[in-house]
Structure formats: C-alpha cells, structure tokens
Symmetry: C3
Subunit: 202 residues, 3 copies
C-alpha cells in the first residue's frame, strides 16, 4: 500500500513537471499560469474520473500531500529546466511508465466502486489522459488525444488486460505490473515505428 502511495505521489510530481513544461512551450502563460496548467495536468485526470464516479472527496482535496507533490514537480521543472529539455527522450520514458501506472491505478479505483469492467477500463484511461486534455483545451490546443499518435488507445488496451487479469489471476501486484507494462510497450513500439491508428473514414 505504501509503495503504491509513493508511486502515486511520484507520478503526480512527474505529470505536473511535464505538464508545466508543455504549457511553458505552447502558451504565453506567466509562472502562475504555467503552475496552474501543470497542476491541471497532474490532478485533472483523477478528478475527472472521481467526479464521474461520484467518488468524493477527491484524492487531492482529502490529502494535501498530492498538491504538494504537484508543486514540487513544478518547482523542480523550473530549476532543472535546461537539463530536462536536453534529456527529453529520457523524460518520455519515465512519463510513459507514469502513464501506465496512472491508468491501472485508476482502473482499480473504478473497480473498487463496483462498476462494470468496461467502464472501469474507460475510467482508467480517463485518469491517465484527461489531465493533459484539460490542459490542452485551456490553452486552445487540439488535445494530443485527437492527433495521430497511439496514446489513449495504449491505456485502454492495458486497462482491458487488467480487468481481465483481475478476474483470472490472484497476484494483484503482478496484474498491475503486467498491464502497466503493456501500455509502456504499445507506446514505445508505436512511437519507435511511428505507428498510428487508421482513420475512421475518409
């Protein structure tokens, strides 16, 4: 349990940092705006999920550590801005692991609420991607989600694997790790080989 909590706080800091960097690059926001957008990125997905589920109180409202983790990430992003820019590729790797973890933790939270496994998978995906979507909407960008890259699809795939494993396997930690790794794997492969999903219809 404690390990998952540490993971969540670390993931939150990471999402906040990466959200702040994107907001800084794509908008004219001052440091307040960038901080605001960084926090939206890291808290938005889970809040979106919990509001849809009616799962009150929201995690970051109940536990101030979550907000502090987000702030910490943003401050670190400001301090190590140049290094982070230079090692963008390494950042992508860490981010992708966080994406995988956020998805599966979100899926599990939805399952705890007793919803249908398909709904839980959707909620897991929301947890991971809606923060970035909200940030993009607020800065008048088209969300990454609706661009070519395989991104949310990877999250859905991992979440579906997870709800399947939960029913069949009795190794909770393993289920989490395998499903998160599937997300990481799909994302790496699709970025590496520039894979993209087909269009709906032309």
């Amino acid at each position: 349990m404690t390990l998952q909590y540490i993971f969540e706080l670390t993931g939150t800091a990471l999402f906040a940092a990466s959200g702040a960097l994107v907001a800084n690059d794509k908008s004219n926001a001052d440091w307040f705006g960038v901080t605001f957008l960084g926090l939206i990125t890291c808290l938005g997905g889970g809040s979106f999920r919990d509001i849809l589920l009616g799962a009150y109180p929201l995690a970051w409202i109940k536990d101030i550590s979550v907000l502090i983790a987000g702030f910490t990430g943003i401050i670190l992003a400001a301090l190590f801005y140049n290094a982070l820019k230079r090692y963008r590729k390494n950042l992508f790797i860490v981010e992708t692991f966080a994406l995988g973890m956020f998805t599966i933790i979100g899926t599990q939270k939805a399952l705890d609420f007793g919803v249908h496994p398909l709904i839980a998978a959707v909620m897991g995906m929301f947890s991971a991607v809606m923060g970035g979507v909200l940030r993009d909407v607020l800065t008048n960008e088209i969300p990454v989600l609706f661009k070519k890259e395989i991104y949310a699809t990877a999250c859905v795939a991992g979440a579906l694997l997870y709800v399947l494993l939960v029913r069949t396997s009795s190794f909770p930690q393993l289920n989490l790790i395998l499903s998160a790794l599937l997300i990481v794997f799909i994302r790496f492969i699709s970025v590496r080989y520039k894979l993209s999903l087909p269009k709906f219809r032309n």
Copy 2:
C-alpha cells in the same frame, strides 16, 4: 417505461453516430479519437446534467447498455458512412426528433430531483446540447450553440412548455410528445426559413 428506455438507447446510438460523423469531418482524429468524440457527444449532455444535480450514479456508469448503444451507433456510422452522408437531410430529421426527446427526458429527470421548473428547463436543454458543445470544445471548434442557428433556444422553449404542461395536464405521455414536437417544429421552421435570433447588441 420500457418504451422510454428503448427511445433513450436509440437516441444515444443516434447521437453517437452523428457526433462521430461530425468529429470525423471536422478533425484529424483517428478512429479512436472519433469513437471518443462520438461517445462524448452522446453521453456528455446527460453526464453534465447529472453532475450538476449530483444525480449519482450517472446513467451510463450504472447501466452498461448505454455505452454499448453508443458504440453500436458509432460502428453503424462507420459501416454505413457513405449512405449516411448521402441522406444527410433525412439524418437531420431523425436527429431533431432525438434532440426533442433528450431535452424532455432530461427536464423530467431534473424535475424528479425536485428542482425549480426553470432550473429543470435549463437542465433539459443541457442534456440535449452539452454533449455536442463538449465535442466542439475538444476539437477546438466554436460550439454550434454560439453560432447563428436556433438550436438550444428550441430546446429551452420545449422544456418550458413541458414544465408548464406537467403542472396542468394529467397525460404524461402527451406532455412529453407535445413538448418534444414543439422543439422539432421550431427547429424545422428555423432551418427551413433560415431564421436566427437577433444579436445581443452591436
């Protein structure tokens, strides 16, 4: 009751299909993005209403059939894409009936929550239009709502008629049908004669 349920699922499928078609035309989204936006279109309005009312659990989270109806609509839209494009006018007619029904069903749900009739009318309008608004916001379009056409206004008019009828008439089915037809009528007339509301001030 069963008839209303069938209507709701059909309306959901229809809204999902039409939302997916609009998303496909207006954005560069791949099939995942189009599916996502189609589902937002059909589930967004009711979710928006229920979150404002605190009416948990949300319909589509409680009952997986709603999500399946949405998916079905989107799959059918992909399969019969060309036909749907060709008969766009007929689609508009069916859509308008769904719009009317969504509005009135949404108004009734709000009334069931014991809110003021005016609030219920607003909630009815939200149920019908906010899904499309959310889709447009996510794809960086100005929502139809804020363009010239008489659209949400028709929903408000029908919803207001409904809350009036509910107080005076004792034929629930008739109230629903008359109010939904008023919406359809206003919408048809305004599109046919290119009517639009005046500007606020120039």
Copy 3:
C-alpha cells in the same frame, strides 16, 4: 448573513453582465448565446468549486434567486449597453470588488467543508476566476488567466491572507473585508503600473 446574501446576488448580477458584454464583443453569438455565456461566467466558478468539493446541491440549483440575479444582470447589460461601454473604467472598479468578494466567500465555503487551508485558497480562486475561464474556453479564446495580467494571483494572495486571518483574528467581517481589499489593491496596482509576473522559463 443577509448582507452577505445581498452581496452574493449583486456580485452574481455584475459578473453575469460583464460576462455577457465580453461574450458579445468577442464572439458572434446571438442573444441566446450571450445570455448562456453570461450565466456561465457568473455561475461557473462557484459550480466548479462545489463540484470539486462535492458540495451539493449547487447554490444556483437550490436557490432560484441566483439564476434570476444573473438574468437581471444580463438584461440590464443589454438595456444600458452604451452607458456601460462608455464607463468601462468604472465597471472595472466594481468588477474588481466583486472578484475580491467572490474569492473570499468561496474560500470560506471551502473552509466550512473542512478542507486544508491551502485547498480552501485554491477553491476561493476557482470561485472567482473559473466562470470567466469556462466562458473563454467555450468561445475558443485563450483564458485571461493565462495571459500577462496579474489576476488569479491576486485572488490567491487574498485567499491566503484570509485563511491566515481566520486562524488568528476573531473578527470575521474584518477578515473578509481586509482580504477582499488585498485582492482589489493588488489588481489595481498591477493594472495601473502594468505589472506582470515573470515567465516560468524562456
């Protein structure tokens, strides 16, 4: 208590009026759209806060007077459009006082919910600024929040002062007034001397 209620309704009317004017200037919306956007401006911030807190029922859904206050503001804005345009500067002054009050009332509502003082300050800021953010997002504008002006930062500063005063002083009315005045002061100074926050990183 009654005084605070009168303040809230007046503030709501004012925010609705100013929201409608901005929507009228920046978008092509007809009077329905402008009314809709004016109401979003005055109700959006408090609704956003209450949905995050799970503070049901929302103020404007429980008490129809809030919606009526909003409508009244919008009707007055239409009637006195030219005068309001001419005295824009005076309007700015009144608006800023409303901004200060909305922030502190929102902060207090969050504190009543037993949240951490930092969270309460964030909620106070949300109460004051998110209505305008939602309006801007719906009309495809970049929210003022993410532009240069010191705006939300002033709200956060006032809210932080308030949560501090609440712990130390025993004069509730004075706490409210001092904190709201800090917001007004920062806002006036920053507009007068064209102050802006530094960038995050270049």
